[in-house]
C-alpha cells in the first residue's frame, strides 16, 4: 500500500513536477482554443453539405464523414505528422495536430449538427423564408439556434472528447500537459506527475461529465 502511495501519489514529486505540468496545461488549453472552434465550423459545413438536396454534394460529404469516423485519431495524427513530410510537406507538430483534429472533429461535430438540423422541422425554415428572411438568415436566426439547443448534450459530450483527445498530441512530441507529465515521469521514474495531470483533467472535465449525465436524465423524463 505504501509502495502504491509512493509510486502514484508522491506529493514531493508532484510539487517538483508542478511547473512543468502547468506549462503543458497552457499548451493543452491553446490546442483546445484552436481545434474546438475549427472543428465546430468544419462540422457545421459538413452537416449542411451532407443535407444538401444535391446528390453530388451530399454523398461525397457523407463518405468524408464516415471515413474520418472510421479512422482512429492517433492513426490520422501520425499519418499527417510522419507521412506528409515524406511527400515534401514539412509541418510542425502543432500544425499536424491542428490538421488531424480539424478532419476528425469536423466529422464528429458534423454528425451532431446534422442530427440537430434534422430535428428542427422544415416548417421553421419555411416560416422564416415566408417572412422574407434569406436562406442564410433563416439558418442563422431560426433553425440553428433550435438545432443547437436540441443537441446541446451531444455537443458538450463531444467537446469533452476533443479535450481528452488533445492528449494524443504528446505522441508527436507537442509539449501539452500529458507530454510534460510523462517527461517528468521519465525523469523521476515515478507515475505521480501523470496522476497530477490526471487530477487537472478531472478538475476541468468532471463538471462537464456531470452536466452531461444531468442532461441525459432530463431527456429521459
Amino acid at each position: 500500500m505504501e509502495k502504491f502511495a509512493e509510486q502514484f501519489l508522491n506529493l514531493e514529486i508532484m510539487a517538483a513536477a508542478w511547473p512543468t505540468v502547468v506549462q503543458g496545461l497552457w499548451v493543452t488549453l491553446l490546442i483546445c482554443l484552436v481545434v474546438i472552434p475549427m472543428g465546430m465550423a468544419g462540422g457545421l459545413l459538413a452537416a449542411l453539405a451532407s443535407l444538401s438536396p444535391r446528390r453530388a454534394v451530399r454523398w461525397p460529404m457523407i463518405a468524408f464523414v464516415d471515413f474520418f469516423r472510421a479512422i482512429p485519431p492517433l492513426v490520422l495524427l501520425i499519418f499527417v505528422y510522419a507521412g506528409l513530410p515524406f511527400a515534401g510537406l514539412d509541418i510542425s507538430p502543432f500544425t499536424a495536430v491542428a490538421v488531424a483534429f480539424f478532419l476528425n472533429n469536423s466529422a464528429y461535430y458534423g454528425e451532431i449538427f446534422r442530427a440537430g438540423l434534422l430535428s428542427v422541422g422544415t416548417g421553421q425554415a419555411e416560416a422564416a423564408r415566408s417572412t422574407g428572411l434569406t436562406a442564410g438568415q433563416s439558418l442563422a436566426h431560426v433553425v440553428l439556434p433550435q438545432a443547437v439547443r436540441n443537441v446541446l448534450p451531444d455537443l458538450i459530450s463531444n467537446t469533452v472528447e476533443v479535450v481528452k483527445l488533445t492528449s494524443l498530441a504528446s505522441v508527436v512530441s507537442l509539449g501539452e500537459m500529458l507530454h510534460q507529465a510523462d517527461l517528468a515521469r521519465s525523469v523521476t521514474y515515478n507515475a505521480s506527475p501523470i496522476v497530477l495531470a490526471a487530477g487537472i483533467y478531472l478538475a476541468i472535465l468532471w463538471p462537464c461529465v456531470r452536466l452531461i449525465s444531468r442532461f441525459e436524465r432530463r431527456m429521459a423524463t
Binding site: K3, F4, Q7, F8, D66, F67, R69, A70, I71, P72, P73, L74, V75, L76, I78, F79, A82, G83, F86, A87, G88, A115, V160, E161, K164, L165, T166, S167, L168, S170, V171, L178, D182, R185, Y189, N190, A191, I194, V195, A197, A198, Y201, L202, L205, W206, C208, V209, R210, S213, E216, R217, M219, A220, T221
Partner: protein
C-alpha cells in the same frame, strides 16, 4: 520523377507494401482480438453496473457514479500511461496487451453503464408497475421487462461509443502493443517510406467502416423512438 510518381512512390510503394504487409496483417489480428475482447467485456461490465445501480443501494450507486465519471472524464492515454509505467514500480507487472485491454474495457464499461442507466430510467414507470402487478419480482421485472427496452434505446449510442473506444486500441502503439499502427510505424521507420502508414490507414478504414455504416443505419432506424 514527376510529382505524381513521387507521391505514388511515397505512399503506394509496391515493394515496401509487399514487404511489410504480413507484419501489418499480424497487427490486424491483434487489433481485432483486442477490439472483440474489449467490446464484449466492456458492455457486459457496464450492463452489470447499470443493473446494480437500478437497486438504488446508495453506497453502491455512489461508487458506480464515481467510477463512471472518472473513466469518462480522463483521457485514455493518461490512464494507460499511469498504469503501464506506474504499476511495475509498485511491484505489479502486466503486459502492455493486458493494460490496454483492461483500461479500454473499463472506459467502455463506464460509458455503457451511463448509456444503459439512461435507458433504464427512461423506461416508463408503468412498465415496472405492470410487471410487479403480475407478481414478477424486482429482479425479474428488471431483466425481462425493463432491461430489454433500455437496451433497445441504448443500441445506437452504444454502437457509436464502442466504435470510438475500439479505435483507441491504436493507443497501444505508445506502450508497445503490436497492433496495426505499431507495426506500421515500425515498418515506416525501417523502410523510410510512408506506404506502411497508408496501408495501416486503409486497414483501419476497412475494419471500422462497416460498423460506422451500421451505426448510421441504426440511428436512422431508431430515430423515431426519440419523438
Amino acid at each position: 520523377m514527376t510529382p505524381l510518381e513521387r507521391f505514388l512512390d511515397t505512399f503506394f510503394n509496391a515493394a515496401v507494401l509487399a514487404k511489410y504487409a504480413p507484419a501489418i496483417l499480424q497487427g490486424v489480428w491483434v487489433t481485432v482480438e483486442l477490439s472483440v475482447l474489449i467490446v464484449l467485456s466492456g458492455i457486459a461490465l457496464g450492463g452489470l453496473l447499470a443493473c446494480v445501480r437500478a437497486y438504488r443501494v446508495r453506497l453502491l450507486s455512489f461508487g458506480i457514479v464515481i467510477f463512471a465519471d472518472i473513466f469518462r472524464a480522463l483521457p485514455p492515454l493518461v490512464l494507460i500511461l499511469i498504469v503501464y509505467f506506474g504499476l511495475p514500480n509498485a511491484g505489479i507487472f502486466l503486459s502492455s496487451f493486458v493494460v490496454l485491454y483492461a483500461i479500454l474495457t473499463l472506459i467502455l464499461a463506464a460509458f455503457a453503464e451511463e448509456i444503459l442507466w439512461a435507458g433504464i430510467t427512461s423506461v416508463a414507470k408503468g412498465q415496472w408497475e405492470a410487471a410487479r402487478s403480475t407478481g414478477l419480482g424486482f429482479t425479474q421485472a428488471l431483466l425481462w421487462v425493463v432491461l430489454p427496452q433500455a437496451v433497445r434505446l441504448a443500441i445506437p449510442p452504444l454502437t457509436n461509443r464502442a466504435i470510438a473506444i475500439t479505435k483507441m486500441t491504436a493507443l497501444g502503439t505508445v506502450i508497445g502493443v503490436p497492433d496495426i499502427l505499431n507495426q506500421a510505424t515500425t515498418a515506416q521507420s525501417f523502410s523510410g517510406n510512408a506506404s506502411p502508414l497508408m496501408l495501416a490507414a486503409v486497414a483501419y478504414v476497412l475494419l471500422f467502416m462497416p460498423f460506422v455504416v451500421l451505426s448510421r443505419w441504426l440511428e436512422s432506424r431508431f430515430a423515431w423512438r426519440k419523438v
